[in-house]
Structure formats: C-alpha cells, structure tokens
Symmetry: C2
Subunit: 411 residues, 2 copies
Amino acid sequence: MRQTQLFTKTRKEAPADEVAKNAQLLIRAGFIHKEMAGVYTFLPLGVRVIQKIADIIRSEMNKIGGIETQSTALQSKEVWDKTRWSDDIVDNWFKTELKSGGVLGLAFTHEEPMAHMMKNFIASYKDLPAYPYDIRTVFRNEARAKSGIMRGREFFWKALYSFSQSQEEHDIFYQNITDAYIRIFNAVGIGDKTFLTFASGGTFSKYSHEFQTLSDAGEDIIYVDRSSHQAVNQEVYTDEVLADLGLDREKLEQHKSIEVGNIFSLGYKFSEPLELTYTDQDGRAQLVYMGSYGIGISRLMGTVAEVLHDERGLVWPESIAPYRVHLLSLGSDDAATVLYDMLVQRGIEVLFDDRDVRAGEKFADADLMGLPHRIVVSQKSLDAGGYEYKARTSDTPEIYTQDVLLARLTQ
Amino acid sequence: MRQTQLFTKTRKEAPADEVAKNAQLLIRAGFIHKEMAGVYTFLPLGVRVIQKIADIIRSEMNKIGGIETQSTALQSKEVWDKTRWSDDIVDNWFKTELKSGGVLGLAFTHEEPMAHMMKNFIASYKDLPAYPYDIRTVFRNEARAKSGIMRGREFFWKALYSFSQSQEEHDIFYQNITDAYIRIFNAVGIGDKTFLTFASGGTFSKYSHEFQTLSDAGEDIIYVDRSSHQAVNQEVYTDEVLADLGLDREKLEQHKSIEVGNIFSLGYKFSEPLELTYTDQDGRAQLVYMGSYGIGISRLMGTVAEVLHDERGLVWPESIAPYRVHLLSLGSDDAATVLYDMLVQRGIEVLFDDRDVRAGEKFADADLMGLPHRIVVSQKSLDAGGYEYKARTSDTPEIYTQDVLLARLTQ
C-alpha cells in the first residue's frame, strides 16, 4: 500500500476528551477514529489489525472443532424473558423499539439465542458435542466508557458456545479451549504477560478461569505465580483458595491487569430455562451441558497497544502488524519504487511512505505507527551499497544489501 | 468438512410464518435460522456463502482504489442533526437510549458519519480522491419484513463512499465502480439476469443508476432492453426518458426485479451541511463532491437463492457455493474417506456426507443444499471402476475414474 493512497493521517495530539493511552496512541497513529465515548471507527490500518487477530482466533477455534456462525444483533424479548431480559438483572442492555410494535434488545452476548436455536439441531446424543462460534460486534450500554477500545459500548469479539452431553465431555473441550487461548495470546505477542487466572466460581464450578494481561491500564488486580505461569484474582485471594491451588502467598506478585479472555462452565444455567435437551443412549431426556468462551478482539488490540509501545509510539508484533514493513523513500522514489514492487511481488506486506514530506516527519510517523521493520531508501543508503534497515524494537540502523534484506524479511 | 461435524440439519418444511422462497429454501437446507421476522442467524453453510460474496466484493473494491474501514453501528445525534436524524425524514431508524443520557441511532447507512470523519483527513486537494468502504451489518426498522434475507431488519452490506475534488473526478470513479459492479454480479452467477437500470434522479443527476435482477420475487418493475443489456425503472418509464436514452418502447420487456446494487452521485448533499471542504490548487475552499455505492450482501445471497434453484433445492454457482463438492458415502466409508482426504489435500473444498442415514436422504439433502459437484462412493461405483459424478445442474450421473474426476474438478 502506498501511503499516499491511505487517506488517514497521523496527528500530534489525541482528542482532549480521550483519556485512555491505547486510544490516544491508536488515534494519533491513524488506526481508529473516535465517534463518541466508547464507540470507535476502525480506519484502514486498524481494520487490518482487527482482521489479523480475528484470523488467528478463527484458525484456533477451527482446530478444536469450532464452526463459525453469524448470530444477530437484534434480540427477541421472548427468547430472553426466562433469563436475563430485565434491566434489573443486566444493567447494560441497549433496547430499541420496533415500528411494528414491541421491544428488541441489542445483543451483549448470545447464550440464550444460541441455546434457543440449537433446539432445532440437537435431538439425540449423536448431535453432540457442537461448538458454534461468532466473530461479530456486540453492544454494552456502559455508564462510563473511559478505557478506549478496551471497554467499548460497541465492540468486536469472538464468542464460542459449547454444547456437550455431560460434564465429562465438557471438561475435555474446556481444556482444549484453554490451550487454544494460550496459543492465541502467545501468537499476538502478549503470552509472557498473560496468565491463566482463577476467579470466582460460576454456577457449576468452584472457580472460573480468565486470562489476565499485566498492565497498569487494567481494572483488575491479580496475584501472579511466575513459576507456574498462573494467577489468582483478588476476588478469590484467600488462604483457603491458595491452599487449594497449592500456591505460596510469599511467592506471589500483585499486579494490575486486563481481562483479555474468559472461559465459563455454564452447566445447565441456560439449557434448563430454555429447555434444551437431548435423548441419551438409553432413550432418556437429558439437559445439554453448556459453556461459553469469549475474547474481545478490539479489547485485545487495545491491550497490545497498552502493553507494546514506547515513548515514540506503537510497537506491533509481526503477527498482527497492519503491514510488516514500512518503506520510507527519502528523495529516492525511483529506487524505492523498484524495491517496493519487488517486496510486494514476494508477498511481503509493505506500507510505502511515498509522501512528499520531510524526512523527520517520515521517521516520526514510522515510529508512531510501529510497523516491525523499517527500510529507508535514500541517496546515502544507495551510496553505501543498499538500504538502511532498522527493526522497530532496535535503535541501531544498519545498511543491508538487497540479499541480506530479503533474508532478514523472509527468515 | 465432515457433515457429522456440521451441527445443522436439513428440514422438510420451513417455519409456517416464512413466506419468502429464498428464506424457505435457505432454512430448509440449513443455511440460515430465523430469529424473528427480518432477522436471521447465518449458520455455518450460510456464513461461508456470505464470506465468499464479501471476498469477491472486497477484491473488486480494492481494485478500483477502495480501502476498507469498519464504521460503527451506534450513531451520534449530533452528527445527524443537520440532515436525517428526524423520524419524519427517515421512517426506518432504530433508536436507543444511552444509560448515561441521550439517544443514539443504529446505522442504516454511513454518509453522515463518513463525511464527518473525513473532516479529520481531508484538508487539501492532495488528500483527494478517497474511497473508504465498509462491509458490515446495518439496521432498518422495517414496518413489514416478508422478503426473507432480501429485506432484513438487520442485514449485511458493502457500502463505499467516494470523496472527490469535482464532478469530473467523480464521474471517472462512478464509471469504474459501475464496471466493478458488473464484474461482481457476473462473478456470483446472476450477470445474465442483472441489468444496469435507469431510475429517478438524485439531487445532482438527472437519473440515478441501480442494478436490478429479474425475478418474480422482486418488488420493482423494470423495462429491459436485451440488446444493450440495460433497463429503465417503471418510475421513470416515460416517452421523454426513452427518447433521451435512445430506447425503443416496442423492444422493451416488462419484468419484476430485485434491486441488488445502487450507485448514487450525491454531489454536495452531505458535504455542505456537514461542512466537508478542501483547499484547491488556488488556495480556495471548495466543497467535496461525494457519492455512495451499496450492495446488500445478504440480499445478494437471497437473490441468488431466488434465481438459482429448481424444484429439488438450491443450485449454487461455483464461486459462492459453501463447498464445491458434496461427497456422499453409501456404505463405502473407507474408500470415501481416502478420496475425501485426497481432495482436501489438493485444496478442493469438500462437504463429506459421512452420516449414517439412508441413501435417499443423502441424495435429497445434496439436491436441497445445492453444491455444484456431487460424488457418490458406493460398492456399485467402485465395482464400475471409480466414482459416480453428477453436476447439480445435470440429471445424468456418470462413472469417473479418479483421474477423470480430478481433471473435472480442477479444470
């Protein structure tokens, strides 16, 4: 992509009302645009990050038997009436009126409609297990929205719902998706800072699990055991729990953290009121055992921005950078164009800064936007026999011949 | 994909309240699930069709300079107040209340927020043209919703917005996107039935253009000139217009049709109230010339279902079929599995009916689901030296050796 074709621009300052560091950086770098508090448009660079994160998650969900669906935003009162329709139970519903009469909800999650829909497809034990998942926008009517894209009123997420014959069948999948989540957080570059965390139990389990990433921008407090790479949420941080988990209070570190994923054993919480049953091998009707598993994709992008940046700007990992290479032409457009064409032809994703602006502006913008590899083509680099290369994480540019450069980018 | 892993099932009858043929077929074949009138969940097979259509459109938009963004569903009253906020102007807004106070809209289109956002990125003529586009869900509070996925209360679409320096610059893009639309409708298999149609003018042009596909399920009436492959909407079907366009009334055929795409020259309709200007080469402030261009992706899927089916079920074109091949094992699971693995390894998309059900049920379901190529593996086919092959559009099965089969599928 030529940067002159990218209509977005970097800016020196974020909007005055934007207090979250992730949104400040992402707005300044031209990845997102703030529509209102908690509501952000994803600009071309931001769309590419979101799509890459979504593709990593999609691939991991498919590996463990997940199968993609697309649920709806508009929600029927009838389906939710037996569970969570009331604003007294769920305090962040958005609701809206139908012209033809009646009230609809805007989905904040899909346990109820998924369980309701599966009544059409689950009859016998032969139809289980089933693991449908959505990658879509959901809505939460947050009273406050001050965390940028980490807690939006409208946000993009993946939610998988599991339908199993029994707790035993459920437990196997629960472990599989736990492992998939660990692979996902590793893949997006925050694995070392992200911990499987014990939190307060759901309806059917002593503890629930969540994935927490260490960051001062987080809203949670966790106690981390580095040796076993796990943690305990402050809400269950008692002697009894620590003994239960075999953790030594003396070895735990207190940190603020961001919840980047959760996994819930739901048991019969939704299948019972929604009457989702199957016929077992002996011909008896049984309730379906459910689970649900969420990852906020826009929140994950915000978390990476919080965790991976320096004083000059964003520092994207290769896996989710909008482009891998930022190619800067400093007055050597012909030579830069030849290199650009060659890299594109080799399938390398390049953002080519072909703008007619000062070198200092190009360097500052490249740092702010944070692509992993920066290449400068200038008379100086050409006279020195090649191109100036610098990784975003390094402070030392080097001159590479074309062969060395290609080897570096394809290693 | 093994069909036993696909949790959906075909059904003999659509829900009694479903009157649209497209939704009846798609529900029976397990592509969609009806949540309520005008609101449908896309099931795994449906998601694959939607994603393939979206990818075809994305590729064509990128070819003509489009660049993908992701606008928001939640809409600010402040941005729309100068144009179309009032329910007296737009009669199908969904609106919703913020817990923190105030009313938000649910986007039915994005001319206003796009123009408002572009004020951050358009300053001089150097910033133009720009062609952002969205592929996302939008909402329309339809009083009636009886057309299945062809007119949803919530639907998936592509919308591109063009920002140009002048009408001249705009006109060039307008022609480019017209050509792209023609390629898109050809690619999804309805090109021969789809006509560029003259309709009533917008604010800045004598006529507007829409793309209409011939179908008795359509809500429009058009007059088709086969020789020039264009048409005139009934709303502008006057002697004056026909003379203007050089069309001979005697040669036109009247048909019902479905509007599958539209292209609008907007001129200054939105840039003026939203004060979207740029500085021209002479330093003067000028209004930006806008256009907008929509294709309903879920509507297009519904249109293909309406236009391409027979008495046995759906008939997908190769380009957007959820899978290209339907492989049916009739009691020869081992041989079928070997073939399945080989086809998958060659990158061919196969749905493998490995269910333990009667042959008649497998044949009926294959016809209903409508994948382009059906392969049957049975003792009979193996004894005859291969596999039974039948195209969905043919009535004559043939026995193919493995080599012939592979040649047929990779031609």
